[in-house]
Subunit: 514 residues, 2 copies
Amino acid sequence: MELEAKILDISAGGRRIVILSDEAAGILGVHSSDRVQIAYNSKRIIAIVNIAENFPKNQVGLYREPAQELGVKSGDKVEVQYVSMPESLRFIRKKVMGERLEEDEIKAIVRDVVEHHLSDAEIAAFLTAMHIRGASMEEIVALTRAMVETGRTIDFGKKPILDKHSIGGIPGDKTTILVAPIVAAAGYVIPKTSSRAVTSPAGTADRVECLCPVDLSIEEIIEVVKKTNGCMVWGGALELSPADDIFIQVEYALGIDPMLLPSIMSKKKAIGSTHLVVDIPTGRGAKVKTIGEAHLLAGDFIELGKALGIHVQCGITFGEQPLGYAIGPALEAKEALEAITGNGARDLIDKATELAGILFRMVGIEDGKRYAEAILKSGKAEKKLREIIEAQGGNPKIRPEDIAIGDKIAEIISNRNGRVLWINNQHVAQIAREAGAPKDKGAGIKLRVKLGDRVKKGDILFEIYAERSTKLEAALKLAETIKPIGVGMRLDEKMLIDTVPTEIKHIKAFVIER
Amino acid sequence: MELEAKILDISAGGRRIVILSDEAAGILGVHSSDRVQIAYNSKRIIAIVNIAENFPKNQVGLYREPAQELGVKSGDKVEVQYVSMPESLRFIRKKVMGERLEEDEIKAIVRDVVEHHLSDAEIAAFLTAMHIRGASMEEIVALTRAMVETGRTIDFGKKPILDKHSIGGIPGDKTTILVAPIVAAAGYVIPKTSSRAVTSPAGTADRVECLCPVDLSIEEIIEVVKKTNGCMVWGGALELSPADDIFIQVEYALGIDPMLLPSIMSKKKAIGSTHLVVDIPTGRGAKVKTIGEAHLLAGDFIELGKALGIHVQCGITFGEQPLGYAIGPALEAKEALEAITGNGARDLIDKATELAGILFRMVGIEDGKRYAEAILKSGKAEKKLREIIEAQGGNPKIRPEDIAIGDKIAEIISNRNGRVLWINNQHVAQIAREAGAPKDKGAGIKLRVKLGDRVKKGDILFEIYAERSTKLEAALKLAETIKPIGVGMRLDEKMLIDTVPTEIKHIKAFVIER
C-alpha cells in the first residue's frame, strides 16, 4: 500500500525499524516484529515493523538511516508491502532447537545481522542458543568467515603480518604498548588494532590515546604502517567485523560471550594477519581459571587459525594479579612509557618479551625472547614507539611526566604485618572504575605492593587517583568495603578470601572486552 | 546530568527507550542497553538507552509513553543519571547458565518485564533459555502467579466460575461458541475470554465478532455476565496478564512457546476460574502429536491448576482434521450458528457436548455429556447464545444467512475415486489465510468431505471463499501446489503424504495462539 513517509529526526543505532499505525499494520497484515519492504523510486529496503497506536494511519515513520538509504523526505509517497520472515530466522530457530548449522545457514544469519534484517530480540535468541547449545568448530569457522566477508579488509601488501591478542581480564595489562614497538623495531609488520574498555578500567585503545590519537581511518593506518611497520589504533570504527559490532551490543547486556573466537579471529583475518600470538591470562580472578581450560581454548584458537590460514600460538600467562603497578588509562600509559625507557615492572617486561619472543620464534628467530629483550634494552623499541606516536599524530618527545594524572589521591594502608597473599583483579578494576576510569583518563589505581611482597602495618598497599573528589570518595568507600588485597603471614593462615553478603551487588565481569 | 527533553512524537509500543547522543552517553558512562533514571519534578522513571550519533548532546529523546508518565514537554530540563542493571537481568543470566530460579527471582523478572525495565533482547534471552533449559513446575507456578499479580483481575462475586480453553492448532475449531451457551444455559457462570488469530485463519474472538462486538471493557464484561451468566469476548486488551502480552510479542518472531502453561493459566486465574476444561487436540498435524505427549501436558495443566486453586480436567480430542466443515471467521460463525440451531456437523456437536459435559461432571452433574446434549437439543443453548449476543451489543435475531461470506468462490475437485485418507491441517490453514482470512472475515474454506468419506473423480473436495479475486487466485494457486486432501482406495496404497522441495517456504506453525 502507498503511505506517506514521515522522517523521524533520530537514528536508532543503525536498526532498520519503521513505525506503522495499528490500522495500516492491520491492512498490510503485519504484526510487530514482522518485516515490510519499502520502495521509493528504484530503491528498496527491508525493515522491521514497530506498531504504534495513535500514529497517523496514512504514514510510515522512518528513522534517519533507512530514510537516507532510500533518499526519501517527509511527505514523499512510498510503497510499503509485507515480506515474509527472512530465511535466517528459520536457521536461528534451528539452533535454538539444538541442531547444528550448515555454512550457508550461518552465512545467511550473519548477512541478515549486518543488513539489519534481524531484530535485537532475534539476535539475542541466536546468541543465547549459541551459548547454551555450544558451537562446533565447523560452525565457528563458518561464523568467522562470514564475519570477515561482511566487513572491510585491509591489505598491507606485505607478508608476514604479525599480530598479538589478549583475551583480557587482567587489570593493568599494557603489554601491547611494548610488544608492538619491539616487533616493529625488528622489521616486522604489526598493525595492532585494539578495543576501548566496556566494563574494564582501560582498554588498549584508551591507554594508547594518552600518547597519541588512535581513531585513524583505514587509509591513515596503511600510511602509518608503511612508515613505521606498526601501529596501535582503535579498531572499533573500522568495520572490520560489523556483525561482531552488533553481536557485542546485544551480548553486553546479557553478559554472555559465545562469539569470543569468531569475534577475535575475524578481525585478525580482516587485517591480513599471518602469525598471531594469543595471550590467555589464567588463574583465579582471570577469565580462564585453570591451565586445563586454557589449553582447551588455545587448541580452539590454533584450529580456527589453521582453517583461516593464520599461524597461531598461545601464551598461557600468570593472571592472578594486575600486570605492573598501574591501572587506568593515563597511569598505564605512563607506566608503559617508563618501562620502554628501561624502568619497567618485572612482570610487565617479562610478559612483553615472552609474547614478542613467541612471534619471533614463529617467523624463525631461534631465541625469540632474548632477541626481544635485546631490542628493548637497545632503545630501539622506544625509538620505534616514538615513531609510531609521531606517525599517528602524537608528540614523539612525550615524557612520562607529561601524561596528566588525577590530582585527587587517597592511600590505602595495611592494618597488619605480613605478605601480600592475594590481589582480587575484579575488585581492583571496580575501584578504578569507581574512581572514574576509563572515562576520566587520569583516574585509576597505583599498586604499591604485588603478590609475595613483605608489608608492615601502616604501609601503603595502593593509591587511588581521581580527577574529581566525589569520585575519589566513592572509590575510597568501595575500597574500604571490598578490601582487594589480602595481607597475612602465611598462605594457610588467612583462609577467608571474600565474603558474599545477602545483598549481592550486580557486578559485570569483563566479558566481551576484545 | 541535566538534559533538555525532546519529545519524539511517536510511541514505541510501550517500550521505555530514551535516545542519548554519544557525547552525553560518554559523560554519563552509559552504553547502549544500559539504564538511566530520568527525573522530572517528583517523578522518576527507568529507561533503556539507545545511543544515536548526531543527536544533540544537550538533549535526551523521549518516546511518547515515558514522556507522558513523567508529564514532561519538549524543552523541559530533566535530570538523567546512570543506574546499574536491574537485578532481574542477573536472574535471566542465571537461567541462561542452566540454574533453576527461585520464586522471588521470577517475580523480579516478570515485574521488570511489565515495567519495561528489560529490553526485547533481554526478554528474548530469557525466553530462549526457558525453551532450551526447560522449567520446573515450581518455576511455572511462580511465573503464573507473578503474571497474575502484575495484571488486572476480575471478580464476578460468584462461585463456581467455569471455563474452557483449547491449546489450539485445529482449523475450524468453533467449539467455544457452543460450549459457552450450553454451560451458561445450565445456570453456571462461564466468562469466556479468547484471542484473535495471529498465525491461524481465525481465533475465537474473530469468529464471535461476526455475531456481535467482542472488544468489551472489564466493566462491560461484568455487566454481560451478570445478565446472561456468560460472555465471549476478546481478552487481548484487558491486561489480565500484561507480562504475557509482552512475552507473546517477542515469542512471535522466534516461533517458540516456552510460556504456554503460565500464559494460559494466568489469564484463567485472573478472571477467577474455579473449574477449567482444557482441550488438547492430538494427532499428526496438531500441536500435540501423540496421546503420550498429551497426557504429559495434561498432567502439567492439572498440577499447575492445583497450585493455583483451579480444578482442571483435560480432554484429549481427535486432531487429525479440521473441526466441522468451515474455516475462516464468517464461515465458522455461520457454521456454529447453524449447529446451535440443530443442524451441526457431527464432530463439532460431539466435541462441544463432551467438553461441556466434562465441566458439568466437575460440578457434580453425573452424566454431563447427556446433560449438555439435552440443553443443546432443547433450544436453551441457542436462546442463551442470542442473549449473550444481545448483551454484547449484537443483533440477537441474527440468522446464518445474515453473515456475509466472500462471493469469490473456487472449487477444488478430486482427480480420482476413493476415500479421504488424510487432511493436512497446516495446509488447509495456509490456503484459508492466502484467501484473506482472518483479515477478510468472509474469506476461508468450506470442506465438502472429511476423513473416511467416499469420493468420486470430479467430486468437489473443498471450496475456497474470498472477498477479493486476487486473493482467490493466490489461494487457488497455493491449493493446487500443496494439495491439502489425500484421496485413495486404501490407507496403505497412498504412501506419500507431502513432498519437501529443496526450497522450503518458511511456514509458521500455530504456536502462541492462545
